[in-house]
Symmetry: D2
């Protein structure tokens, strides 16, 4: 279940439309901190590279949305030498992006300077008519967020006089004013469309959440009601422990003295 999936299930619960118990796997640390960030980060870049074979170094990359997926994509685009600009609707996330060293501006401003636009917001019509009108000739548009609604394709088509597929997964839209825009993967998730999705060594953690939560549901049986449950902390931690083990990495453990110190408010203050 994705970020947008969880939001929707919780809304269903609120409206009494949920018929059976669910686990919000996306909210487990061992899922969203890894799959959404490092998985989407790499595979989105990979999808766009395979579709276009562009050089990332020196490009202006506009990342719409600075949630875990957006953070991952911004990090990887910068890691490949791009100049990254972030757009956001949330002030705290926007500030994080600024202090992480990215430029932050409204999308209407970014539209004029960007070479590549990537949407990861979970919302609809993020790139819309007003933006298409400002884009530079040759701008590339990709979505790695939610279905195919983040880029308003029907608004794009309304401005278009000619359309042709120039490479697999790359559609060139010629606008009435002569500019060319390139839409990747028909606006669907580009990492699934043009690449192989997330690597196995990050999906393992997500699928472990699914597997262990299923086991947990079976064990708990009828005690569970139609509701969006959090992944039990023990399952989350166990996945972290197993993943480290599989990578051959060992870590420290708290001493008895250290455990006691953390629980005390009398010593050391």
């Amino acid at each position: 279940m994705t970020t947008t999936g969880v939001k929707r299930q919780k809304q269903m619960e609120k409206e009494g439309a949920l018929k059976y118990p669910l686990f919000a796997v996306n909210e487990a640390d061992s899922k969203h901190l890894f799959d959404n960030r490092y998985g989407t980060g790499q595979s989105t870049i990979d999808g766009i590279t395979r579709a276009t074979n562009i050089l990332w170094a020196g490009k202006r990359v506009i990342v719409c949305g600075y949630g875990w997926c957006g953070r991952g994509v911004a990090l990887r685009a910068r890691g490949l030498g791009s100049h990254v600009i972030v757009t956001e609707v949330d002030a705290i996330r926007a500030l994080e992006a600024v202090m992480d060293g990215y430029e932050v501006m409204p999308l209407l401003d970014a539209a004029k300077v960007g070479d590549i636009f990537i949407t990861l917001t979970g919302d609809t019509s993020v790139i819309d008519k007003a933006h298409f009108e400002l884009l530079k000739d040759g701008a590339i548009l990709a979505n790695s967020g939610h279905f195919d609604v983040e880029i308003n394709i029907s608004a794009l088509e309304a401005l278009t006089t000619a359309k042709r597929r120039v490479r697999p997964f790359v559609d060139e839209y010629t606008l009435a004013d002569g500019r060319h825009l390139f839409l990747l993967g028909e606006g669907r998730l580009i990492n699934l469309a043009a690449a192989e999705g997330h690597p196995a060594s990050v999906m393992d953690m997500s699928f472990a959440n699914h597997a262990l939560c299923s086991e947990y549901m079976v064990k708990m049986g009828k005690t569970l009601v139609p509701k969006v449950y959090s992944v039990p902390k023990e399952i989350d931690w166990e996945i972290g422990r197993l993943k480290l083990l599989s990578m051959g990495i060992t870590i420290d453990t708290l001493t008895a003295e250290q455990k006691k110190y953390l629980e005390s408010w009398k010593s050391g203050t």
Copy 2:
């Protein structure tokens, strides 16, 4: 209130020792995501630089603890060209450090290779007798976490045959086997000891939390009970909004259509 402060107050609440209402300011996003990470990150490096004038490029820096403070210090040490090794007791955090590109290992292993050790765990005796015995001649020890208990100074002194101050904030401990260890700022928070603490442009967000929570307490008056309260989301957001405004940065707002889409589970799926 710091991470360790909040832990202690919650323990007091649990034990019925809390006499008046409190706000867990550290848990506000506009506090810990900024002050703890970007503030501690920069000022810790700054304190150690002022104390020692070492070159960070090419040094092996051991960061003990990958909470927000540790993340900040690891990021800044890498940003200055250090090879960063993280030690942790939490598997999820350890995995994050690995996937952020750092080495992760037990402190007993890191002890043998580190040039500079920085503790940011909020716990006691993180660097202890067993580690002192393994450290390289010339290793530098600094704390930027919690009081002066993270480095076990009495254990260090028990191994020491001679001690002298070689620069302000730098004490050289000569061990019986001839090795020299350098303890900075007597194991107290090095950013406060040897530098000027966090820059004003990140403390402003923390102090805004204190100010606005105080105002809120006055307004709410007798309705509040002796308990550790969360900072109201409205206050957290307002601080984000004001900070962006002060930096001259504008961001996007959701359209009516986008708000509705986020709340719906019927469209788009």
Copy 3:
């Protein structure tokens, strides 16, 4: 012409084996600083990703050789979250790698810890029998340097009991002791074997060198002798100027006062 190409032509010149004039295009700043670094950096990573779909975050990547190609690959692997270890034979380059924040060690040590090995040295048998014997089960081997000689494949085959192609461009070698090693693209340049080579927007600079040097040779005609010539500085600069222009980037120009100041040794000292 590549780094290794230029070395060979100069050797031919020294031995009197050169029959016609040549231009050392690789030595032009507008070629090796860009094509070798940003081009090879990205396309090598891209080739390995397409061949294996591995997650780079958290992997130990061993980069053999810290010339312009190696620097580029190290930078991009780090940019994708890998822990990069560099091996070198040149002390100055090794020191640069250290101060750029990478680990540096002999390949015999790196062999024991690496997940992915990439050779970019221009030399032969960089990864050899002694290394194969130490590699971890599952290690991945790729070359992005020179022909197919950098990984000693016949030495690998001599240790092998079974070999099969597990994915396009991925050959699994099962050794007598049961370990599995994965050789990519038969040891040939992995960016050409498994991806599309360098992106057009960096090859344009290399080809401009070829084109403008050819034009120059025609102009100079018989005045040129069988020798390896440097690319004329005017051509190098002109390519830089044109490339900036094509990207819509403008830069400053020196004032008359500034030009004079640079040439003078009397003022300002």
Copy 4:
């Protein structure tokens, strides 16, 4: 001898004004690749931090000049979370800055958006009247390049109605239009003015060049003429070798087969 020093000595040689032999120590790899880049990079940031205690995260830092010093400062400012903009007069260097992920623009454009300006060009009047007129209220100006001529202080004073020292090394200039500009260290090298200069562990390489070139001059005696000599490659390499040794780092050596391969143009092609 610095970059600007070498330029001047070569000009003196050209004009016949040189009276004795000199070694262009700055051109040794073991000097400029380390001292100028990692030394100036860190100590410039350190000087500005000590002078102002600003937070680097989220600031727009304008780096004037992308030579080795400028590259170092840009790298470190980015490493501390700044958004870095580079200004240059050389197209190749400007392109490198772009592909390293920085923004590049004329200083007249950068003047309008920058929070902190750092000059490292070796030239005069880099920041001049036309720029002062565009700077934002509160902009900080520092030089880490050449004497005190890179920022045109007399042009600044001509626009100023009031001047006061607000912190050690920080002079506030109030302009006629009410804006305040902060000049650090009177426009002199800020790392020397407000910090401790370069750390010992990078100056050791520069001083080793001086020492070993002096020894070489004594040995060569009268055979040397009044001329700017290059540092002999053997000295350069020896310093690299010794520095690695002092850091406890070992590297690989070429096998006989590898040496032969590098010199041959017949095998492998």
